[in-house]
């Protein structure tokens, strides 16, 4: 009897999962009543047969592709191997996207800023283009490194000084004073817009309070005898060649990652009104820590899963590292399929749940996706192009062998769509399954794509010769401009 009662209780637990649906209005029933059930049944049967036949062919093609993509001799991570061995069990799942609020609504946040790189030593610049296709501003690219503020309304140019320019027209708004010297390797804005953090080659983190203008510089621990493979750093033997930094979503924590040429070091800081306070650090090879390392300078970090996990993509080998931020320990490495360095563009969804990896169309237009909660990898698969294609990640098993330029697949501000540059325009793909929703700019050879702050305008470079400005109604304006480069985006790739 007890066994039966246990079974009954268990079944209640399992089957009483919440089950809510959005209900159509009552009036919709009237339309259904007028439809012929027989006709619907026949149509359904016919559609089923057609889909089944099509699926047979598609499945055969897919099988061939996957065998080819897996390739011999490539390494697999423990996670990827586990995924492979689990292929007989129920397929993994992808989380539905969490819609993000649209916050970049200011007129300045709708202006695209794109680099222009003339040949033969002529000065490079950035031009600002509004949603009507009008050039509204121009800035000398030689001023320093360009970053766009979290709200999209300002451009921060970091050279010897830190200066803020209006994204509306390029006018100088404010100067925040000098940097400590050396090169600025990377910058990050807190999501609340208050802080700008800069990481310098002379091993420091500078945090600027963008409200008060106050600045604080904190030394950053590193290996004094670091070697930098393939590089000579005259006069800067103690310098960092590559490091990066990232804020937690709540803007209260900052993490720095010092890598390449020295043991990887992960440091956590509290961000306080008076500056940074280091709270923890972990170093590869010390205190039992074993961290991965990127074989070249080029990593893209993001704090995900509600601030608990740091995910880092290495542009050189296609590995994705995971760190538990409560303990600063390595929790896994997933190997994405990448044949050459920089062939993949990493795109973290704004809800921090997924990492899409897009292989640029010129190298073969394929997609992979990593579920950042479970570290499961799906793909690689050809990026779907036809609107009738299904979303490939809705029904596939992971493959054993898993694994740029981020602006080849920007994500919409609401976090629900990817805009994938293709060899024939831009394919708009639904997150998470990549079902094609629309094709825009058909016929154009797309280089890079940027979405305006409110998501209503798409800007894309066409063969580096023109900027396409595509409005929400599909109308398109062409701005002829040679030597176009890349956009300055608020989002980190």
């Amino acid at each position: 009897m007890n066994d039966e009662r246990d079974e009954e209780e268990r079944l209640e637990r399992i089957l009483r999962r919440p089950a809510h649906l959005d209900l159509p209005p009552f009036e919709q029933l009237a339309k259904r009543r007028s439809g012929s059930p027989l006709a619907r049944s026949l149509a359904l049967t016919l559609a089923t047969v057609v889909v089944a036949v099509a699926a047979l062919f598609a499945g055969r093609e897919l099988s061939a592709f996957r065998q080819q993509a897996a390739g011999p001799g490539e390494t697999t991570s423990p996670t990827a191997s586990a995924n492979a061995s689990a292929s007989a069990t129920p397929r993994p799942s992808l989380p539905p996207p969490i819609p993000q609020p649209i916050t970049r609504n200011s007129p300045a946040a709708q202006i695209a800023w794109v680099s222009v790189n003339p040949p033969q030593g002529a000065p490079a610049s950035f031009i600002g283009v509004d949603p009507k296709g009008k050039i509204v501003g121009r800035l000398d690219a030689g001023l320093g490194h360009f970053w766009r503020s979290a709200d999209g309304s300002q451009l921060f140019v970091v050279g010897d000084q830190v200066n803020a320019y209006s994204a509306s027209d390029g006018a100088l708004l404010r100067s925040y004073g000098p940097t400590p010297g050396g090169a600025v390797l990377d910058a990050a804005f807190s999501s609340d817009g208050r802080w700008l953090a800069l990481l310098g080659s002379l091993a420091y983190v500078q945090v600027i309070d963008l409200q008060s203008g106050l600045s604080q510089v904190t030394p950053l621990g590193h290996d004094p005898n670091a070697s930098h493979p393939g590089l000579t750093m005259s006069g800067q033997t103690n310098a960092l060649t590559w490091s990066t930094l990232v804020f937690a979503p709540d803007s209260k924590r900052l993490y720095t990652i010092v890598d390449w040429g020295s043991p990887l070091r992960l440091t956590a800081f509290n961000v306080t009104a008076s500056g940074l306070v280091q709270v923890a650090a972990a170093i590869d090879g010390q205190a039992g820590q074993k961290f991965p390392s990127c074989p070249g300078p080029g990593i893209a970090p993001k704090v995900v899963t509600g601030g608990r996990t740091l995910a880092v993509f290495c542009h050189f080998d296609g590995k994705v590292w995971f760190f538990d931020l409560t303990t600063l320990t390595s929790t896994g490495v997933v190997q994405a399929d990448m044949r050459n360095p920089f062939w993949l563009a990493p795109i973290f969804t704004p809800d921090g749940q997924l990492l899409y990896l897009h292989q640029y169309p010129a190298f073969g237009d394929v997609m992979q996706v990593i579920d950042l909660r479970t570290q499961a990898l799906l793909g690689p698969l050809p990026t779907p192009q036809k609107l009738t294609d299904p979303g490939p990640f809705a029904w596939l098993f992971p493959v054993a062998n898993a694994g740029g330029t981020p602006s080849t697949v920007p994500v919409s501000p609401d976090g629900l769509r990817l805009y994938a540059a293709a060899n024939d325009g831009i394919t708009v793909l639904r997150i998470p399954d990549l079902k094609p929703l629309a094709k825009i700019a058909t016929g154009a050879q797309i280089g890079e794509v940027w979405i305006s702050g409110d998501g209503s305008t798409v800007f894309a470079t066409d063969q580096s010769r023109a900027l396409l400005v595509i409005a929400a109604d599909g109308s398109q304006t062409r701005v002829n401009q040679d030597n176009l480069g890349s956009f300055v985006a608020s989002e980190r790739g």
Binding site: E7, L11, R16, L21, A52, A55, S93, G391
Partner: protein, 167 residues
Amino acid sequence: MKATRVADRLPWRELYEAHAAELAGYLLRLTGDREVASDLMQETFVVGMRDESALREPASARAWLYTIASRLGTKWLRRRRIIAFLPFLDTDRDPQDALDVEAIAVREALRAISPDQAVALVLHYAQGFTRGEIAELTGRSDEAIKSRIARGRRAFLAAYGRRGGGG
């Protein structure tokens, strides 16, 4: 004329507002597919409106709607089993729940047992109907339902375990 008068007594909009969500939840649990559940829920009301003369006592409209929904759900599950034999065909592309390992395990376990058993289990354990009420809904004897639930429970838990369910 009599049928029309009965129909006139049934406030369909109110019935829809009172029971649509509950029936949709039931059908979602039964089929594991949002689009299908929404479709079948609407079909339940359409069939009800069409056959409203069959309802003798308007006060039992809820149970009667469950009867219709169960019949439609059973038919769909049977058809789904046939379709599932076609290779590479997967109609579960709902991004909202196709993405939840636990939901998949429940859905596939329900599809692994007989549709009649699945209906009985969901009605009893999820929707809270007694064995006697299910017998009335489905037109079977109490004993038959008791047996159906007992066998279905064992079959479901076995299938659920094989699919990695953790509940």
